[in-house]
Symmetry: C2
Subunit: 421 residues, 2 copies
């Protein structure tokens, strides 16, 4: 090979973002949720958007096939937001389907074939009975070597958690503290599926008092989370409140070519770095305490952007389980390997910390409608960079942000870096 | 919008192609089939390929989720051909998943982010019992408005066939003739699932004679195809031999940037046009005798390429059902609306005709492993343009070729144009 290029042909900016509320909506289809997200995105474009200007849709969706009996989802979504006959393509990389759609949208704008691209994500998971959802999600594991051995995703991430505990001395309280932080953030996000753990705890205490039932003796959230009835073990050390929920939801962003960005917005958010990598399924990896694909994707994104981890002000990372956030905070270079737990103890990743992570509430509290999650991350950093995050707005000047979206246990990973100029 | 661009940032060429045999392989997984296709592709690169030079994989796959209980298929395939940690992304647009992956590969090379891209397609359909495959494929219809009403794909295409018969006077014999032609081509393709209908017919006559059973009175293939026992109606007017088969298979091509193409091959095949469009599901369309998304995609591809239908020497079109080939031959501008049947009668689309279509045997005879079909089309035009198609090589100089890949009933369509310089 005489020549290598790893730069995009032209710059790309986000000029609008929107999402549905994430949650369990028995009366809504994925189409309804996608229309909600699209409508909010359209309103968010500060100089206005004529939908006819949209050239194409890239849709992240894990498995409408399994969840809704619906394949070929991209043209259906594009139809429901009135964009026929524009090109519409579904991208699937398990829980990183949103990040994958985002990357394809960026690449397409950079190629010159489109100027304005809608990037969306959607998943409608609650059609299935809860007990079948875990089996359905297990399709993202290795169907020959992992699933038949009984591995589900809580089990796979529990294996990573125990390895991390053994290597770095983490305690279950570290995982619990991640959950408490993210639920506190989610409590300030009107789109989040769940509020704070403290509210849940105090609500239960109040109800017990009202009913004259024995009043639980929890003094704080950690005690609440240690209660084996309130917070049962799913796959040790991952308990119920360590696992992201089953969610319905959709999210959209609008990408445009840098040269037309100011026609849409006075404050475009430029995507200056994009990294993607793949890996073997978990059973085949040499070590379990980091996600190699995340480290490679982050390195590629930082190199393309020409910035370093210390430059990034906030990050949305893939906390499908609490342990995953700690590992992610190391994989993206915020903290050294093994020191993610110290950062949790010191509150560095809290909203008012030095390295805020998952100000949206993360997958843990905001919700994890698989295909929408990666786009939901982009919606949060765009909102924070616009200064429009309301009560959860971080006080520091967010001029650089990062999103980190993992497929399955790290079979794929996507990292993006955003700049406000 | 101040500016519109519909050109690719830089040129893209195909420098290698390979495929597994298409068929029913009970003892092979999709991974095995993909490795076969990759291995043949690698050998086909005339100046040699170091797999380490491959920057990324785009994988077309309709639903490994439903067929194999396996999501997140792209990293698994990239692992099995030794490309970890290179980016790997699955693209799904129903039966046009292969065409969609091809388009994303082209866009990615054009963007400058990759120089060398593996584009593959795979589907393993025969794990499920045959009676469940039709239901599984129905997920590509509209799961709210079509599938619950009882529509399967033979039914949906039968609706198009009856509409076409009513409007243009087509007879069932026109559909049968398409099948006979494509099976004749498939008989010359060692990768095809099925050989000629004549061979099937003569084989049955010979066996009846050997066994002393009553000898069928078929005089020719048309009589054989009219026999309701031999060729039962699936959804009138579509009979068994009007339907593409249930297939396992994989196909790969290697795309490279124009500026490095000659490092891989002395005869790169340039992709000079790419078009994509979307449409409502069939129940919502104003007319059924053409596929609007195909016409729009073809127009876009011709405009990008700067050529016209009369310039194209051969085409591989999406003959999932025989009627679909006739409609496709009109949608891509080879023949006027309604005159596709006359072209069949006159043998224009035969291998030695003026407009050869589906020299590979098409989906009908070569097989239709959904996600692989669009890439299989690219493999055929590459092979013909290289002059390597052996006994099925068309005699004319194939300097321009076209592929046409339809998702479902035309909810999406991809058209690509190839040039040998």
């Amino acid at each position: 090979m005489s020549q290598r290029t790893r730069r995009l042909g032209r710059g790309v900016a986000v000029v609008g973002a929107g999402m549905s509320k994430f949650g369990a909506f028995k009366d809504k289809s994925s189409r309804d949720l996608f229309v909600e997200a699209f409508t909010e995105m359209k309103k968010s474009v500060d100089k206005g958007l004529d939908a006819g200007d949209i050239d194409a849709l890239y849709l992240g969706n894990f498995s409408s096939d399994l969840f809704e009996g619906q394949g070929h989802t991209a043209p259906i979504m594009t139809d429901w937001v009135g964009l026929i006959p524009k090109p519409a393509t579904r991208v699937e990389n398990a829980c990183a389907s949103g990040g994958a759609a985002l990357r394809e949208g960026i690449i397409a704008v950079a190629s010159g074939i489109y100027d304005v691209v809608l990037v969306g994500g959607v998943e409608k998971m609650t059609n299935l009975p809860t007990e079948r959802v875990t089996d359905t999600l297990a399709a993202a594991g290795d169907a020959i070597y992992e699933t038949p051995a009984g591995f589900t995703f809580p089990g796979l991430y529990a294996a990573m958690a125990t390895a991390y505990m053994a290597k770095h001395g983490a305690k279950v309280e570290h995982f619990m503290k991640v959950g408490i932080k993210n639920h506190n953030n989610g409590a300030l996000n009107p789109k989040a599926q769940f509020g704070s753990i403290k509210d849940v705890m105090e609500g239960r205490i109040a109800r017990a008092k009202e009913r004259g039932q024995p009043v639980p003796s929890w003094d704080n959230e950690l005690e609440f989370l240690h209660d084996p009835v309130t917070n049962p073990v799913v796959a040790w050390p991952m308990r119920l409140f360590d696992c992201s929920p089953i969610s319905d939801g959709a999210a959209c962003i609008l990408l445009v070519a840098e040269n037309v960005a100011r026609e849409f917005s006075d404050l475009p958010i430029y995507i200056i770095g994009s990294g993607q990598a793949s890996d073997h399924a978990l059973h085949q990896r040499a070590e379990l305490t980091s996600i190699p694909a995340a480290k490679i994707a982050a390195k590629a994104a930082y190199e393309m952007a020409g910035v370093k981890p210390q430059d990034i002000k906030i990050a949305e990372v893939h906390d499908c389980f609490t342990v995953a956030e700690i590992i992610a905070s190391e994989d993206i270079g915020f903290f050294e390997p093994g020191s993610g737990i110290k950062a949790v103890d010191e509150g560095k990743t809290a909203r008012d910390g030095t390295k805020p992570i998952n100000t949206s509430g993360g997958l843990k509290s905001k919700g994890h409608p698989i295909g929408a999650s990666g786009i939901g991350q982009a919606v949060e950093v765009w909102t924070q960079m616009q200064g429009k995050a309301g009560p959860r707005q971080v006080s520091r000047n967010v001029d650089l942000a990062l999103t980190h979206n993992v497929g399955a246990t790290g079979g794929s990973c996507f990292v993006h870096i955003y700049e406000r100029r």
